[in-house]
């Protein structure tokens, strides 16, 4: 009665096309090819004008850090089935708290702690609304955004300053002397390094750990997860809350490392851009980081253009570059293989 196990996959024979080394999906082939071209281009530019290239690369990494932190916050929620469009608000509120605490206490570290805690608190508010009360998830996220903008504007203290320098770069020994990437990647302030570590750790956790698998299960088929004893509500609650901590770190990074002060609405739409980064990166941390670098690059490039007066047009038009590219890229991404959303995304789960 034992059946041959080889035939049982059945259904769709020959779907995987053999491009590149055995077992590589077309996607992977494209990513690798793209990376090779990119490295060649960067190298070429570096040989042509080292200083400019280093400046653009540094700006790329700086902008990407905030985006990837937001994207990771978003993807933990979405993989669990919860849409988080409140990342913008989480950034802003955390930036405000991080700045205020750092300014009052004189400790950047306490500022970071305050920022992350604020992110966690905002995350738990989102979880309470969208998981606990089963509020419409878009509305729940919008509540966070409006609350953050209103509260931070109201309590904003124009005269307050950080009272000390923002986080400074740390050279990672001989790595910082490498050409091209030395300054751009290995001579950065601490939160950037922390974010890079988190990208790798979260990637492994999401794809390999028990937690990651259960998270995928509650986002795809919460009913099935519940039948094998997974507490869907509890896990969603925890995930959305903890993900908020990543956005909180992003807020602290923005105020204490990237800018060094707090200004009204300083998140400037990057919480929403993070969602585009998340989708473009296929809801994996490494993918999101690649996407974040790309969007960061456009930001850095337009900054450099403005600085050098490269184009004889008003600065505002040059400043549009990242957003125009975002629209083009997101539209174009739709043309190449669409990614499926988690099946239960946006649907509140009700225990019967």
């Amino acid at each position: 009665m034992t059946l041959p196990t080889t035939d049982t996959s059945g259904g769709t024979p020959g779907r995987r096309v053999g491009v590149g080394p055995a077992g590589w999906s077309p996607q992977r082939v494209w990513s690798v090819a793209g990376a090779v071209v990119l490295v060649a281009l960067v190298w070429g530019f570096y040989a042509w004008d080292g200083a400019q290239t280093t400046a653009v690369l540094g700006g790329t990494v700086r902008a990407a850090t905030l985006l990837v932190l937001g994207a990771m916050c978003g993807m933990i929620g979405e993989r669990s089935g919860i849409v988080n469009i409140g990342i913008e608000g989480q950034f802003l509120m955390s930036a405000f708290m991080a700045f205020t605490v750092a300014s009052m206490s004189g400790s950047l570290f306490l500022g970071v702690v305050a920022g992350v805690s604020t992110g966690l608190a905002m995350g738990s508010m989102l979880a309470a609304m969208s998981v606990g009360l089963r509020t419409d998830q878009i509305i729940a996220g919008t509540v966070l955004n409006i609350a953050a903008l209103g509260l931070t504007s109201f309590f904003y203290d124009r005269g307050r300053s950080l009272g000390q320098p923002k986080y400074q770069s740390i050279e990672l020994g001989p790595l910082a002397d490498l050409p091209v990437v030395g300054t751009a990647v290995f001579n950065r302030p601490p939160l950037t390094y922390l974010a890079l570590v988190l990208v790798v750790v979260l990637h492994v956790l999401l794809l390999r750990s028990v937690w990651g698998m259960r998270t995928t299960a509650i986002g795809e088929h919460p009913g099935a997860a519940a039948t094998v004893g997974i507490d869907v509500i509890r896990l969603r609650y925890w995930n959305v809350t903890l993900a908020g901590g990543l956005a909180g770190l992003g807020g602290a990074y923005l105020a204490l490392e990237s800018v060094g002060t707090f200004t009204r609405a300083m998140s400037g739409g990057r919480g929403f851009l993070a969602l585009a980064v998340m989708i473009f990166g296929r809801r994996t941390p490494l993918g999101a980081y690649a996407a974040a670098l790309f969007f960061g690059f456009t930001t850095a490039l337009q900054g450099q253009f403005q600085l050098n007066d490269t184009f004889d047009i008003p600065a505002q038009f040059v400043g549009m570059l990242p957003f125009v590219v975002t629209i083009i890229v997101v539209a174009a991404a739709g043309l190449f293989g669409r990614m499926r959303d988690p099946a239960a995304l946006g649907q509140p789960y009700e225990v019967r």
Partner: protein, 580 residues
């Protein structure tokens, strides 16, 4: 941790039992003093119509519901179950009708989910894989451990679902309508697997309403009706007919005589005289159904219909002379994922015949129906209806040509749940006279039409203003049939017309479809139930991977032959049959 090991250690005399189980939901008594007992190594079939209380009973035994009275016993011990986890922990596993699997995850991951072997918080993939393969070998459940569940055929997904229960050391398997989605071959294979499990001491509760399977597989049979046990027997002591009568509470005639004309063929079911002035509401209702149906039948037959020159439809030669109503040539259509689902399909349906499309679900039937009715874009080929080109026609145009459509998913495409019964009764024609004039709806006409439909098609509803959502499945379906039949149609497209409804309603709808055929309407019937296709069709077209692989005569073809064709045997893919 091994299922066979524990089963072999101490064998309890009763694996799973409910004694005197009573469960009420509000004023409804879903289970009334129900007793059933499952012994090791046996298959107990729980038989009953929809709403008979089968699901409630197993939900009580599985810990989803707490009984209001009665005692649950697992492995000789009385237990109080507060959740399914209590039942699972005591070795009870459920094979759900709607598989509880995460489609994009691999087989191994699905099986170990929630009870993962781990190493430093990571899934110990090697160990998980090994344990799954051991189980699969031991119980003869072949699966590809690394395939994503969504890429597997339904039969293989079901094996994953069974393995999931066995992985958790289940000694009792509750299988809820496990054969509903399988081909005859897959069904036979499943029954083999279940028997193999019983040989290793596992006990199985098998919920079904298919009598053939009960007779083939069960050791013990418990029949439920209206929440009560109305019979406990064994296959040796009973017959399909006797079981059907127990289940429905009266003699049933589903087979009718499909080759007889409406004038003589309908109403052959013996009407059980119930002159005892029964007090049971539901029985009284059933009685009303029957008499209303019978009345309607006779009046329809008596009516001088436009197609009054009806002749016996049995002779194939006669059918050939009739005009072709639906002519499909080289039709291609893609599914939602952009894969070719209908592949250069050609098919004709003539006036006064029922052409049944048999096939395992997911072989392009849905896309075929949607392409004909204008709900889906056909990528190539032509559709002509009554000699008019309907290729690329919009749904409204198809309706206006004279096509009735009973859609596969009544909740999604058949009715608008929040609209009233009245509004739903004119969904296909609300824009036409007499229901609209000058862009305004004429409520009085709509309401009186709706009352006609409700009376003629025996739709049980308090009034025509009730929302369609408040109706039961069978009554929803009767409302749709009534709506589609109350217009003058040349072609009826019926997709899964009796899915998930009770036998009484099935009987009624089948009879109306046959009548319509006898009046000269061309009928394209698409159904996943082979029994339904065989019972109704004059010709059976077998669909496999988007094509009609064979057209057979239901009077001469056997179930086995059709089953092989459904599994792709015509393409020489014998391996996929074994796979099923």
């Amino acid at each position: 941790m091994s299922a066979a090991g524990t089963a072999g250690a101490v064998t309890p005399s009763v694996l799973l039992a409910g004694y005197g189980i009573t469960k009420r939901f509000g004023s409804v008594v879903a289970n009334d003093d129900v007793t059933m007992e499952l012994r090791p190594g046996r298959i107990l079939a729980l038989l009953g119509e929809n709403g008979a209380g089968k699901s409630t009973l197993v939900n009580v035994l599985f810990g989803l519901h707490r009984p209001d009275a009665g005692r649950v016993v697992i492995a000789d011990e009385s237990v109080e179950l507060s959740s399914p986890h209590d039942a699972i922990a005591r070795g009870v596993g459920m094979v759900h009708q709607h598989f509880q699997l995460v489609p994009p995850m691999s087989v191994v991951r699905n099986i170990v989910l929630g009870a993962e072997p781990r190493k430093l918080g990571m899934i110990d993939v090697a160990q998980a894989r090994r344990r799954v393969m051991d189980l699969a070998d031991r119980f003869g459940l072949g699966v590809d451990p690394d395939a994503a569940v969504e890429d597997l055929p339904v039969g293989a997904q079901q094996r994953v679902e069974i393995l999931k229960a066995l992985y958790r050391d289940a000694r009792v398997l509750i299988a809820d309508e496990p054969t509903a989605v399988l081909t005859p071959q897959e069904t036979d294979h499943l029954l083999d697997v279940l028997r193999g499990l019983t040989a290793q001491g596992v006990g199985i509760v098998f919920i079904t309403h298919k009598l053939r399977e009960v007779m083939a597989a069960a050791d013990d049979i418990v029949v439920l009706r209206e929440g009560k046990v109305v019979g406990a027997t064994t296959p040796a002591q009973t017959s399909e007919a006797a079981l059907a009568e127990l289940m429905v509470g009266r003699a049933v005639d589903l087979h009718g005589d499909r080759f007889e004309s409406g004038a003589t063929g309908v109403g052959t079911a013996p009407v059980a005289p119930r002159a005892d002035g029964t007090t049971d509401d539901r029985r009284a209702d059933e009685e009303t159904t029957r008499s209303a149906a019978a009345d309607e039948t006779s009046s329809a037959v008596a009516d001088p219909m436009p197609h009054a020159t009806h002749v016996e439809s049995s002779a194939a030669a006669e059918i050939v002379e009739r005009p072709v109503v639906l002519d499909i040539a080289g039709l291609c259509a893609d599914d939602d994922r952009g894969q070719r689902a209908v592949d250069e399909l050609s098919l004709t349906v003539r006036a006064g015949e029922i052409v049944g499309v048999a096939g395992v679900e997911g072989n392009g039937q849905r896309e075929l129906v949607e392409a004909i009715t204008g709900l889906r874009h056909a990528t190539a080929g032509t559709v002509s209806i009554s000699d008019r080109d309907a290729s690329g026609a919009r749904p409204r145009q198809v309706t206006v040509i004279g096509v009735g459509h009973i859609p596969e998913d009544r909740a999604k495409h058949g009715l608008i749940g929040a609209y009233s019964v009245a509004d739903n009764s004119v969904l296909n024609r609300y824009f036409k006279r007499p229901f609209a004039a000058g862009g305004m709806l004429r409520r009085d006409r709509i309401d009186s039409h709706a009352r006609d439909v409700v009376a003629t098609f025996d739709v049980r509803t308090p009034d025509v203003d009730s929302p369609a959502d408040s109706l039961s499945g069978g009554n929803k379906q009767k409302l749709i049939v009534g709506r589609e039949f109350s217009d003058d149609i040349d072609l009826l497209i019926a997709a899964q017309p009796t899915r998930g409804i009770d036998i009484g309603a099935i009987e009624f709808i089948w009879r109306r479809i046959r009548e319509r055929r006898d009046e000269g309407t061309a009928v394209l019937l698409v159904s996943a139930e082979l029994d339904e296709v065989l019972a109704l069709s004059d010709r059976v077209a077998v669909m496999y991977e988007g094509r009609i692989v064979a057209t057979v005569d239901p009077r001469t073809a056997t179930r086995e032959e059709i089953g092989l064709l459904m599994a792709g045997a015509a393409h020489g893919a014998a391996s996929s049959v074994a796979d099923g």
